[in-house]
């Protein structure tokens, strides 16, 4: 059994925990002695880990990039290269036609973490050239 240190991805308390891994599957969570939780976890912290394993209880994980080539066309799995090229071209076309402020982005205040959000706002500001970036703090 492996143990990997993490912080709970649910509420804003910031509880430290170990994820327990067996045969590549996350099989449990144990409280660590973090500044806030002092070894304890709540219901979500203790039992909120197995979505990672793609249980498909509610909705499946996404493993591959997909696009719709036209509005209303069916979703289609494509390679990363094609997905990124397609999206980059669309964004550049929209920017050229309507200006950078015609593009809006929202960050994720959930599992991704601060570094992913930092890079997204840098992309928004330095690459697209707009301050149209926000997060769910308002809602």
């Amino acid at each position: 059994m492996e143990k990997h240190m993490a912080v709970c991805p649910y509420c804003g308390a910031g509880c430290k925990l170990d994820l327990l891994v067996e045969n590549g599957q996350v099989v449990g969570a144990e409280g660590l002695d973090g500044i806030t939780n002092q070894g304890e976890l709540c219901l979500k912290g203790l039992h909120g880990y197995d979505f990672i394993n793609d249980t498909k209880i509610l909705t499946p994980r996404i493993y591959h990039p997909m696009i719709r080539r036209e509005k209303g066309a069916p979703l289609e799995r494509v390679t990363w290269d094609e997905a990124l090229d397609f999206t980059a071209q669309k964004l550049m076309d929209i920017k050229a036609k309507y200006g950078p402020d015609a593009i809006m982005l929202t960050g994720s205040s959930r599992g991704p973490g601060n570094e992913a959000n930092y890079v997204m706002q840098k992309f928004t500001r330095a690459c697209i050239g707009t301050n149209n970036i926000d997060n769910c703090a308002r809602t």
Binding site: M5, Y10, K44, D50, R110, G111, K122
Partner: protein
């Protein structure tokens, strides 16, 4: 939060206003229970008899939508009884006399018809808070998701300032964050008015600094504030926004008036969703990027009390999932602004170097169960559990500006057709749009579709509704099927729904009315009606059919990923070389 979560247990008084910690933050709640055990006085003002109300020394069952009227009267009671700290006010605040001009008219008696609170009880609570050796004032969405939310926060802060319940140990303000990293998103500049570290985008010196660090001409960085998230729907409709890049959120589940938002988002030229699950919003996306999940990547989260902590990957990425920061970097590179990072530490160190408030929060300091609490300006700095010690505020003159406002009624008041108030609340076992918790075995057993609608026994009786039955809830915007819980712990005239449910989607009913300053929607107050469904057998069956249908639709759409790409294009050499 101006205080830290651990410091709550050493406060001598805790006043919770519109905050239900046992459902939304059980581990914070535990500190409040400990404070009580150590002798602290607990005050709760909430329309529901929440768990903390049961251990409260004073519980006030306030009317929905009364916040500023209540707080003004609370402040009035403090000053009228001469319990304010004149020395602290004189030395550390501005504008007391002007503030009092508004507050003086709000006696507890004069607003009793709005607050529903007996004046003597309110005075007793005001005495308890103002005279405590140290007091923490905590609030949650009961303040934030209301029409006058920013103004209410001004009022709460002023109450802490005039009583000197801020600027000393174990005292201050505790507005908690709902999601694990809302504080982090704000810290990282996922805001239309701030670069990372709360540095203004409208400040030329800041643009100069970031432009230099990011290697772009300063003219490239926009000099005006951007749009707010709650504006995306109508901006799309008005043709101002043509592309929306939605990262790890499911707005069609979590935003108000979801049906209208869906129509607006469908009109976009380009909707990009970067997620780990097929969500309702992903269903209408033009591009879906698979990111790695929590548990599959490293990083830092910011807790509600400004505490940075590291988390690490437990298992490798699945399928073709990429780390989110890699996806942004590769897209940016293709759009002519090359970005490349080796790992999250490289990103973090770049961020720290640009944010003086966070500079001392190194990965080394946060190793293992370590943490770093900002402001933490230097490597040697111990971090800041309690802000504004000694009454030194972060304003140009280091003094707090007292602000008072008149109460206004909520936007959509109940009437004959929609006589009930709908208030959306949190669920202990589920979280946000439920894509994560709904896929956890144990948690999915705790609560299921269509969720619950809590209704007072008198309101249930008047409608012929029995506990456990499926009911129809509807408003001017839309409707949802939910399961009635007849609940004597809530106030008459208001129903409460949690926002996790697809069939019982409260956001089909909620009103898209936002505070003009924060653009936060008024999720805590809209008008609705609830009616019994006579044929319960049909209702149960219909609910299951709708639920199964939606689950199947999501799975069907996701199954597009099981088909290998047809047009395998060769990666272009030049592009690869740019990325490397």
């Amino acid at each position: 939060m101006s205080v830290s979560i651990p410091s709550l247990e050493d406060a001598k008084c805790i006043f919770l206003f519109g905050y239900n910690p046992s459902a939304s933050h059980p581990i914070v709640s535990r500190r409040i229970v400990r404070a009580k055990e150590k002798g602290a006085k607990i005050i709760v003002a909430d329309p529901r008899v929440i768990e903390t109300a049961r251990i409260a020394d004073i519980y006030m069952q306030i009317n929905n939508g009364c916040n500023i009227a209540f707080l003004n009267a609370f402040a009035n009671a403090i000053v009228t009884e001469n319990l304010h700290d004149k020395e602290f006010i004189a030395e550390h605040t501005n504008g007391f006399d002007e503030w009092w001009e508004t507050i003086k008219d709000y006696t507890p008696e004069s607003v009793q018809h709005i607050t529903g609170i007996d004046p003597e009880t309110m005075r007793e609570a005001a005495r308890m808070y103002a005279t405590a050796e140290s007091a923490v004032l905590g609030w949650g969405m009961g303040v934030a998701q209301q029409k006058q939310n920013v103004l209410t926060v001004h009022t709460l802060a002023a109450i802490a300032c005039i009583t000197h319940q801020i600027g000393k140990p174990n005292a201050g303000l505790a507005p908690v964050r709902g999601q694990n990293n809302v504080q982090g998103s704000c810290d990282m500049g996922m805001l239309p008015n701030f670069f990372p570290g709360y540095q203004k985008v409208t400040d030329p010196a800041m643009r100069e600094k970031f432009a230099k660090a990011w290697g772009v001409p300063v003219e490239k960085l926009s000099d005006h504030e951007g749009y707010k998230l709650t504006d995306v729907g109508h901006n799309a409709e008005e043709g101002k926004v043509h592309a929306f890049y939605n990262f790890g959120e499911d707005p069609l589940q979590t935003e108000p008036d979801a049906q209208d938002l869906k129509r607006q988002l469908q009109g976009l030229d380009l909707l990009i969703c970067q997620d780990i699950f097929m969500t309702q919003t992903c269903m209408i996306a033009d591009v879906i990027f698979p990111g790695t999940s929590w548990g599959e990547h490293d990083g830092v989260f910011s807790a509600s009390d400004r505490t940075f902590q590291r988390f690490t990957a437990a298992v490798p990425p699945k399928g073709e999932c990429k780390h989110d920061w890699q996806i942004f970097s590769e897209l940016s590179t293709r759009m002519g602004y090359p970005m490349h990072y080796e790992d999250t530490q490289e990103i973090w160190d770049e961020m720290r170097s640009l944010c003086p408030t966070f500079y001392g929060a190194t990965y080394e300091k946060m190793a293992g169960v370590g943490h770093a609490q900002w402001p933490i300006p230097t490597i040697e700095h111990p971090g800041t559990p309690i802000m504004y010690l000694g009454g030194k505020f972060t304003t140009p003159d280091n003094r707090a500006n007292l602000m008072a406002h008149d109460w206004e009624p909520p936007t959509e008041l109940p009437d004959e057709e929609y006589p009930l108030i709908l208030c959306t609340v949190r669920e202990v076992g589920h979280y946000s749009c439920r894509s994560m918790t709904g896929n956890c075995r144990a948690l999915s057993l705790l609560a299921e579709e269509p969720g619950e609608i809590h209704i007072h026994p008198d309101d249930a009786k008047a409608r012929g509704i029995y506990d456990g039955e499926l009911v129809r809830a509807f408003s001017r915007r839309g409707e949802a099927m939910s399961r009635a819980v007849v609940d004597e712990r809530i106030n008459k005239g208001t129903v409460y729904m949690t926002y996790q449910w697809w069939i019982g989607k409260c956001n089909n009913l909620t009103l898209h009315a936002v505070d003009p300053r924060s653009h936060t929607p008024e999720d805590k107050f809209s008008a609705c009606q609830v009616e019994a469904i006579e044929d319960q057998v049909w209702a149960e069956q219909h609910m299951q059919e709708l639920y199964t249908q939606l689950k199947n639709d999501l799975a069907d759409l996701a199954s597009a990923q099981d088909v290998e790409p047809t047009s395998q294009r060769q990666p272009q050499e030049t592009r690869e070389s740019v990325i490397v």
